[in-house]
């Protein structure tokens, strides 16, 4: 159907008022040879029922996939609030007098994220965890003039790829990787120590739990980083914050990553919810929107976007980032999710994820199937799965994690298995059956 509101009569009335006879007269400034003389080759119009049946796909029965994008239970409240059209169909809150709803939601999100991370400030969100990490690298280069970016090799490979894409054209910058210990799956502390000693003007980033699901030895990392110019922690499974020490306690300059797990479905790969938290000293160098408290003309408290002078619409080529949006709806979902599950709910969900992973690990252990790494895990771990098992899984409608040997050729046949509260003991037994 068409969403044009005018009927034929109204259109003709407007033609008459403009003194034209047809729509062609409206496009006279376009050189004639560029005017398309045929209809676009696009099928339709279709009715709603047809569209619904054309545009759908069903998930597999049992899914153990994660690796940066997670399936978690979403309380009904989240969908109810997120579908309020006052949020859904509003624009960026540039006009604060008629955007207090969106502005306060962002302020509350900023408040909740900083408390979860134990950091001073959070921006209004970014596209995803990978671009948030790339922006953190750019901030380190801007604020601390670092000349080398060190990435732990167990940071999500997609994140590392995005960082390289973003940093490619910066002259004189090196991007290097710090290897992981092939037994524990944790960062190789000796190499890290040497690398940071060798070049003081480096920024180091580590993910914990890392891409293999392993919890990094953060106390040791933090002590090596004491004299570093800049370092950051990446969190891709935000649910882990329900049970683990807040990353800010280790003293990093930034904590970045993805909060899709907070009330946002995986949606076949996005939208995700990049978060960016940092210390107060970086407020003026940080990328992205910020909402601040203020007051109106009558002295009443209100919110507005602030520090816009860092942003592209004012600073243009000198802006701290080219970003011109935030993940507004995803922020809303995260804020409503965190308010709904509350402190004990988030703890319980995190415990369920950890318990589920341990339940499956125990089943595998009984079968004599060991994991690839020995380090402690939260809710993900790496297993070797042969082609035969993969084939059986696919036929049984089971997704046995995601394949990672493409990114780590040394880990032949390795599969990253993720367990969340969306799985069950029965799911785990099914997975065991195909092994």
């Amino acid at each position: 159907m068409s969403y044009v509101s005018l009927n034929q009569e109204e259109k003709e009335r407007l033609f008459e008022k403009l003194g034209i006879t047809n729509t062609g007269d409206l496009f006279k400034t376009i050189p004639e040879r560029f005017l398309l003389e045929r209809d676009l080759k696009i099928p339709g119009p279709y009715d709603e029922q047809t569209i619904e049946s054309m545009l759908s796909s069903n998930p597999s029965r049992v899914v153990f996939a994660g690796g940066g994008i997670y399936r978690h239970y979403i309380p009904a409240v989240v969908d109810t609030i997120a579908s309020r059209q006052e949020f859904y169909t509003s624009y960026t809150p540039y006009q604060p007098e008629i955007s207090q709803g969106t502005l306060q939601v962002i302020f509350e999100y900023q408040s909740m994220m900083t408390r979860l991370m134990h950091m001073d400030v959070s921006n209004a969100s970014m596209y995803d965890g990978a671009t948030a990490l790339a922006e953190a690298c750019l901030m380190a280069i801007r604020a601390k003039k670092v000349k080398r970016i060190l990435l732990s090799k167990s940071i999500n490979p997609a994140y590392r790829s995005v960082v390289r894409t973003y940093l490619r054209s910066i002259d004189g910058l090196e991007v290097e990787e710090v290897p992981f210990d092939s037994i524990t799956g944790q960062v190789d502390l000796d190499v890290l120590k040497k690398a940071t000693m060798a070049n003081k003007r480096s920024a180091f980033f580590i993910q914990s739990p890392n891409y293999f699901g392993i919890i990094e030895p953060m106390d040791e990392v933090a002590s090596i980083m004491q004299d570093a110019a800049f370092w950051g922690i990446v969190v891709t499974e935000a649910i882990s914050l329900g049970i683990m020490r807040p990353p800010g306690d280790y003293g990093p300059d930034v904590v970045v990553g993805d909060a899709q797990s907070f009330g946002n479905p995986p949606s076949a790969g996005g939208p995700l919810l990049g978060f960016f938290c940092t210390k107060r000293e970086y407020i003026r160098s940080m990328p992205g929107r910020l909402v601040g408290l203020t007051r109106d003309k009558d002295g009443r408290q209100a919110f507005c976007l602030t520090l816009a002078t860092r942003e592209q619409h004012i600073r243009r080529e000198k802006a701290t980032s080219n970003i011109c949006s935030n993940q507004g709806l995803c922020v809303l979902r995260a804020a409503v999710y965190l308010s709904t599950v509350g402190p004990r709910g988030l703890r319980t969900i995190a415990e369920q994820c950890a318990s589920g992973a341990r339940y499956l690990l125990a089943l595998l252990g009984k079968r004599g199937i060991g994991t690839v790494f020995t380090g402690p895990v939260f809710n993900e771990f790496v297993l070797r799965i042969d082609d035969g098992s993969r084939e059986r899984a696919s036929q049984a409608g089971i997704v046995p994690g995601i394949r990672i040997d493409e990114y780590y050729p040394e880990l032949t046949d390795s599969q990253l298995i993720t367990v969340t509260e969306m799985n069950s003991e029965r799911d785990c037994k099914w997975l065991l059956d195909i092994m």
Binding site: T29, R115, P271, R316
Partner: protein, 500 residues
């Protein structure tokens, strides 16, 4: 130094911040517990934090009321017209939302379910290529600015592959601020190009500026004055002769879809804004989607993964294209927005898409005609889907564009884009879109005329406007000086306890 301010009750927020509703034990949520909770032993010590996460503790009914009340403080398209120039705030069809929700539970690692999705995305690529007259497409950029950056990176990569180190990207002075910002991140130097007296870039100007260091020209067409870039053919010829690329910011594609195709005008690379032209919602600031389209010559550099079909006619994601710029997103892109776009395109079909463009231009021209006697029209070149007026007449009476914008709120409208483009002093950039009912258009025109009347009769009245909004005029200076950015800062800066 800590700045302390006494805050009295009468000046409190319309709705308290969620943390101030919190009290121990109010939250009674019962999350799924499919597993028996396992006691975490010594091995798992690093996992355990003795403190619970610091979140508000409130009941479900309080959550619902709190956020529902907040929603009512927002303006939205579903409440009325949103004439923001170059933002294309058109109606967001509800079927699109329903369709997008259907793919919510699919994990991208679920290869079977993704077969169908990749097939749909491949169709969407083909539709967008057809609309733009381009050869290849990536759907992954998560917003328009992300698309621009991707496009600039593609051009940078093409230069590297050609063994050239061209540094400059020319950008007309009417461009959106993201254009120069994206150029800089991609490693180029943004060079400003003046648009002429007629409100578009003249080929003669480009001829003077072009040199062997120019990698590309980044143009918005129609530009942010709503004017079609009439010299586009000559411009693209000049660029191509010079070995430079023509990049088009597709922010204003709503005026062209089904009417004329950028690919035929010589555009080498461009991005679309699906949240503008293709009716997916803005959602209070995102998520958007900014697909990039290129000619064959630039296709090898498109970001990964690529959607390809193998010999067995199965779709897969190619992750080892040797010349690609690499990945730009850790998932795929904003898939739910892509599904909304596909739903919108399917709803309209080829003819409907053209009709949308035609009506958007028809309505905008009608509005311009009705308003140009009351407000100054800086360029009289014919415009397409949007137009720019200024406060020149009203300013003589002491009334500015900002005053006019705030006054529109009292008439129940969202203001137009203001003070942009930068080349026009006191600009008001108006884009009604094709979905507005004629009654709403007439009401807006009438409101603008009444505001002009008020500026004659009682210019002093504007200082206390808006009055009909949830809060009165908001003090951005106060916010920028104090920087109260979280609930914890409310305590440290304002001397108020942040929570019970």
């Amino acid at each position: 130094m800590v700045i302390r301010h006494n805050v009295t009750r009468s000046t409190e927020l319309l709705e308290p911040v969620v943390y101030s509703l919190s009290d121990h034990g109010k939250n009674k949520v019962n999350p799924p517990r499919p597993f028996e909770a396992i006691e975490l032993g010594d091995v798992d010590r690093p996992l355990v934090n003795h403190d619970l996460p610091d979140l508000p503790d409130i009941s479900e009914v309080e959550v619902v009321r709190h956020y529902t009340r907040l929603s009512r403080l927002n303006y939205a398209i579903d409440l009325g017209m949103y004439p923001l120039g170059s933002c294309t705030m058109k109606y967001n069809p509800k079927i699109s939302e329903k369709v997008a929700a259907k793919i919510g539970n699919i994990h991208p690692g679920d290869t079977e379910a993704m077969q169908t999705i990749l097939g749909l995305l491949s169709n969407l690529e083909a539709h967008l290529e057809e609309i733009c007259g381009m050869d290849a497409c990536t759907l992954w950029p998560a917003a328009g600015a992300h698309g621009e950056l991707t496009g600039m990176m593609i051009i940078k990569k093409a230069m590297v592959e050609r063994g050239e180190d061209r540094r400059e990207v020319l950008i007309p002075d009417t461009a959106h601020g993201t254009n120069p910002a994206s150029c800089t991140i991609a490693g180029f130097k943004a060079v400003k190009v003046p648009s002429g007296d007629k409100g578009y870039l003249e080929a003669s100007t480009l001829r003077k500026l072009i040199n062997e260091d120019v990698a590309a020209l980044m143009i918005t067409n129609p530009n942010t004055l709503g004017i079609f870039e009439q010299d586009i053919a000559e411009i693209s010829e000049l660029l191509h002769e010079n070995g430079s690329y023509l990049y088009m910011d597709g922010a204003n594609m709503n005026a062209l879809m089904g009417i004329a195709r950028p690919g035929e005008m010589g555009v080498d690379c461009m991005h679309l804004n699906l949240h503008k032209t293709f009716a997916s919602p803005h959602g209070g600031g995102g998520p958007g989607s900014g697909p990039v389209l290129v000619k064959d010559e630039l296709a090898p550099y498109l970001p990964m993964p690529w959607i390809v079909k193998d010999e067995e006619e199965r779709f897969r994601l190619l992750t080892n294209a040797p010349q690609s710029i690499g990945m730009i997103h850790s998932g795929l892109g904003n898939l739910s927005v892509l599904m909304k776009t596909l739903s919108y395109i399917s709803s309209l079909g080829g003819k409907g898409i053209r009709e949308a463009a035609e009506v958007s231009v028809l309505i905008a021209n009608y509005m311009k005609k009705c308003l140009k006697d009351s407000y100054y029209l800086p360029y009289d070149t014919p415009t397409l889907h949007e137009f720019v007026l200024t406060d020149k007449y009203q300013k003589e009476r002491g009334v500015t564009t900002m005053d006019i914008a705030k006054a529109l709120m009292d008439f129940g409208f969202h203001p137009p884009t203001v003070y942009f483009p930068l080349v026009v002093t006191g600009a008001m950039m108006i884009e009604p879109t094709e979905t507005e009912p004629l009654d709403e258009i007439e009401r807006f025109i009438d409101a603008m005329k009444q505001i002009d009347e008020l500026s004659r009769k009682d210019p002093g009245a504007f200082s206390s406007i808006p009055r009909a909004t949830p809060v009165s005029r908001v003090d951005e200076v106060w916010a920028a000086r104090r920087l109260v950015l979280t609930w914890d800062m409310v305590e440290s800066i304002m001397g108020e306890p942040p929570s019970k």
